[in-house]
Amino acid sequence: MAKGQKKFRSVGTRPIRHDGIDKVTGRANYGADFALPGMLWGGVLRSPHAHARVLGIDASKALEIEGVKAVITSADLPVIEAGDGPTNFWDLSRNILARDKVLYHGHAVAAVAATTAVIAARALERVEVEYEVLPQVQDVMEAMSPDAPLLHEDMFTKGLDPKPEHPSNVARRMEIARGDLENGFAQANVVVEREFTTRSVHQGYIEPHAVVARTGEDGQVVVWCSSQGHFMVRQYCATVLGLDTSQIKVIPAEIGGGFGGKTTVYLEPLAILLSQRSGRPVKIVMSREEEFRATGPAPGSRIRAKLGARNDGTLTACEAQLYFEAGAFPGSPVMAACMTMLAPYTVENLSLVGYDVCVNKPKTAAYRAPGAPIGSFAIETLIDELAEMLGIDPVDLRLHNAAHEGSQAPYGPKFRRIGYRETLETARAHPQYRTPLERNQGRGVASGFWFNAGMQSSAAVNVNEDGTVQVVSPNPDIGGSRVSLALMAAEELGIDVERVRPVVADTETIGYSDLTGGSRVTFATGMAVVEAARKVIEQLRERAAKIWGIDVSQVEWNEGYALPGQGNGEHDPLSLAEIATSASRTGGTICGNVSLNARGAAPGFATHICDVEVDPETGRVEILRYAAVQDVGKAIHPSYVEGQMQGGVAQGIGWALNEELVYDEDGVLENPGFLDYRIPVASDLPMIDTILVEVANPTHPYGVRGVGEVPIVPPLAAVANAIYAATGVRMRDLPISPPRLVDALDGKHSG
């Protein structure tokens, strides 16, 4: 029930965020900004080997140091005997503290708590661990070979028929198939088949993981931390530590970036355990080096993909195999890559096979549209090649095959109303698409898709006695969601957004909510806010009816006022503030609470145009211009929608050009810092033009679609396609760093 032509008074405006002043003055408290009296400092001992058996741990010398209060190992964790489902707690427990084996360089082995951080660091040096070093494997293809060292000796590949007899590093084989592949390729006039490589990249949030935990004498645990979901932290800690959920309270700090990398726990269970052992509050803050060695990353991959088209541009068939590094434990987003890579297109015949492969690297974590940028990189490059071979404009080729309402997604269902074609048409009409290019310059286009999530959310809307309103959110505000939620409440109630104060509540003061992730908060928690505000309006109408002595059915709510319907006598309209002031006399405080499992999440599509200039001497690529077009459904706060798009583009450009976790032959990360793991800086980028296409999601009250993840999907191929246009060299191996590009250019000239 979209409001269609309704004119909004708050939604679509650009007020200053309520939490903004605290964030520009340094008052806002992030994960590491919290401290308690008597607090100890924790540290984590990490494996110096990429793969080894842990034969024994002796902490006695560490405990002899004055100021050391506790040392823990996996022996202090309950044994998780089985694991399955979306979160495998068997794996999670062993990632938090290695049990029996360490599976990557940097894998946590023990943790200490001491009176100062320096003493904690010294204590870690005195914990003696005896290792039996094992052969290790880093490369996804090597890990699949029958004689590769096994990370998990009891892991048998799922998804094979018949079931395999020998264990393997391949956790699972997955497939999406439809139509007749042979027939599809037979119909094609042109076929391209290529291989692609991408490397592990890190989410690169600026705020490292940090936690303070305090255990009371009664066993109650309070945790302060920054995460993408304090309810997730509570649930994961309870499960891993064998505590009741009700024993743990998690208070969310401001979160300094996550991008998927803060959707799990690393430090929190350690801090709780150390607090339990020492009887003192314990704080642990990860170093940047630990972040790079032991958190994230997004997977490295190898893809072989084949795409066929008729002379008129119709895509007839696609076949692809995707091999993704899961890291130390299964769970790469390879299936999501299979599901999303062809989602913008109607291809009748396809077979997409994904392999989830364990290697001796950190367990991969979600990273913004997990899997989608990698799969899209392959397909969007192939489409660019086909467009050139067929002599068709790359946007026109995409339009010719574009998914639309009623067309079948590669993973099965038919799309409802989507705005992919609109993004293509808007991109084609954008001035950048016709801007003349000079020598060594090139233009690339690519599209992208993400599902967007709904799921469980709660919200409360509380009316204060002076008519101001509190919106209580259960989701950490990672990019301006407070102000978006406040805008929706203000819209419903018909009051100014400055009268609405959004707050993020802890696990004990608001109902459960799923993570801040999946581009879901403005959509799903926003839906809960809208419903809660509507409950408040019902109460406001009832109170006005009591004051006027008329039936509630005769009271309308309009633009912040209760109005008596015609024929109910002469009454002045009652403002929300007036009703609130007298609430105690008409039935008590007015508030609305809603918990829901949001249905109706709608997918998002984007099309990006990238112009580059390549320095043929050095291989340096400069981004000259960039335009991102995206169907956002309805932008609640357009500035923050634009910001999501610009940020996604910047991360995608980094992935395309520079970012790469480099491991040596022993599996040791060689670039665990921002100097050598180079994310884009201000001087690397131009202004990023954003064009918001608003094809309303018909199932949301305001038409909202998720926004945050789609924009990281197209840039990888958009940049690579632009580099091809500038140089004539196809780069299918990311990142397209200067040395790689220079090598490729040299190869072109010598070959």
Partner: protein, 165 residues
């Protein structure tokens, strides 16, 4: 216990004394001893700029300054940028342009950008981009930050000297 040095300094215009071991950084003392947590720690290797402060008016990464080096010097942190309830134009324009998402790099951006505008009141976009190249932001793609700083520069140039002071 490691020996400590008694350090006398001025932070945001006020006299401050503290004790520090020789190996501790100014960042650690600001955050963990003086509770000035507006200065953020992103890397401790001088790569991210989240810990930007001024030392005798010069922009530095406080993670690369030893706390004892602050002896007899003036330290400026993000907490000292606003005048009471009046935000500095850089802060105000960052808000108006929605130039922060998570906000953890913002204190460093505020300190670095105000430092830029003190020495160059009329920077080009390119000058702003290069000055802020040491301040990593992973959320915004920098677009709105650059616009906000240019807008703040414009406002400062049009404002009276009193407001500038």
């Amino acid at each position: 216990m490691d020996p400590k040095t008694h350090v006398h300094t001025h932070i945001n215009g006020e006299p401050v004394e503290f004790l520090s071991e020789a190996y501790r950084s100014l960042l650690e003392i600001l955050r963990d001893e003086l509770m000035l947590t507006g200065t953020k720690e992103g890397c401790t290797t001088g790569d991210c700029g989240a810990c930007s402060v001024t030392l005798d008016g010069r922009l530095v990464c406080s993670c690369l300054v030893l706390a004892v080096e602050a002896e007899g010097r003036r330290v400026g942190t993000v907490e000292g940028i606003a005048r009471g309830e009046t935000l500095h134009p850089v802060q105000q324009k960052l808000l108006e342009h929605a130039a922060l998402q998570c906000g953890v790099c913002t204190p460093g951006i505020v300190v670095a950008a105000t430092s830029l505008l003190e020495r160059n009141p009329d920077p080009t976009e390119r000058e702003v981009r290069y000055w802020l190249a040491g301040n990593l932001c992973r959320c915004t793609g920098y677009d709105k930050i650059i616009r906000a700083v240019l807008d703040a520069a414009s406002e400062l140039r049009g404002a009276s000297p009193n407001v500038l002071e």
